[in-house]
């Protein structure tokens, strides 16, 4: 699997996800600078990492979505390449129109950094194949703007097309309002594109993919990609 991580000014989980990718694939991913529109042709996976691209000063992900590199990502996605957006990366993908909906301020208005539980809602994707159906995974979130919104038609389409990848849930796997850390519509934590080759999620799988850091529930995402794309 040949992977690249896009680096925007203000990305700050680029190294973190590169560590996870290297652990999974055995070699470091390509770190791709935002100003460069030309992505290598032979990439299997493009990761838009977490952080605060451009400070998130206008809207989270808004400026990064208009960068040269994102034009390249759009082309690659159209060709069916895998694109994974984590946290700020999810925000960028929504702003870029590669995923539907938007991520608004958390309903508590606080930044929240903590482990949450996710129910795996579909295993039918190159990102989630290594999870069991309805498996509960403990993965951290760390964001201020993770409150997913979409209009009714989009919500129905996501549901009908099995494109909701993860929902926030209790440790026992119940999808409840108490288990929803940020107010997201229908507890949505991550969604797939229509072609199922783009995944955006707010939680950070790279932060719990190493026993030393206290857990490995994030690792199946990388393992799924490795199997699907190698």
């Amino acid at each position: 699997m040949k992977a690249a991580v896009i680096v925007f000014p203000g990305s700050n989980c680029d190294r973190d996800v590169a560590v996870s990718l290297e652990r999974t694939t055995g070699r470091p991913p390509l770190m791709h600078w935002h100003a460069d529109a030309d992505l290598p042709e032979d990439l299997d996976l493009i990761v838009i990492p977490g952080g605060f691209s451009y400070g998130d000063y206008l809207r989270s992900g808004a400026m990064a979505a208009r960068s040269a590199a994102m034009a390249g990502v759009r082309t690659a996605a159209a060709k069916g390449r895998a694109v994974l957006g984590i946290c700020n990366g999810f925000q960028v993908l929504c702003e870029a129109g590669l995923l539907p909906g938007a991520l608004m301020r958390n309903r508590s208005l606080h930044y929240i950094c903590r482990d949450v539980y996710l129910r795996v809602e579909t295993t039918d994707s190159i990102f989630t194949g290594h999870y069991a159906p309805a498996q509960v995974a403990r993965i951290p979130i760390a964001h201020h703007d993770g409150n997913y919104v979409a209009d009714l038609a989009t919500h129905c389409a996501l549901e009908d097309e099995d494109r909701i990848a993860f929902r926030y849930c209790t440790p026992a796997g119940k999808v409840t309002d108490d288990a929803n850390p940020n107010g997201s519509l229908d507890n949505i934590a991550g969604i797939l594109s229509e072609e199922r080759n783009v995944l955006g999620l707010m939680p950070h799988p790279e932060r719990l993919a190493d026993p030393r850091l206290g857990g490995t529930d994030g690792q199946p995402i990388f393992a799924s990609l490795m199997e699907a794309l190698s």
Binding site: L58, R59, A62, M63, R66, C94, E95, P100, G101, A102, M104, R105, N106, R107, L109, N147, V149, A150, D151, G183
Partner: protein, 80 residues
Amino acid sequence: MKARVHVTLKSGVLDPQGKAIAQALQALGFDGVKDARQGKVIELDLEDGDTSAAQARVDEMCRQLLVNSVIETYRVELEG
């Protein structure tokens, strides 16, 4: 020339900031507050020129960057 872009959430989109403001005001004892919404204003300092061309350019800026049409609408005010 100055352009003022008023960006507001589309009606129907829940506004967590606005809701918190309304609640906080009520908690402070301002009880006549029925609702609050928060929007933003972007003031642009533009090179002088033709007004209608400026209007078109600011519209374009809104479409390309300043506004997320999934959740927001906007209104432009030109001055000077």
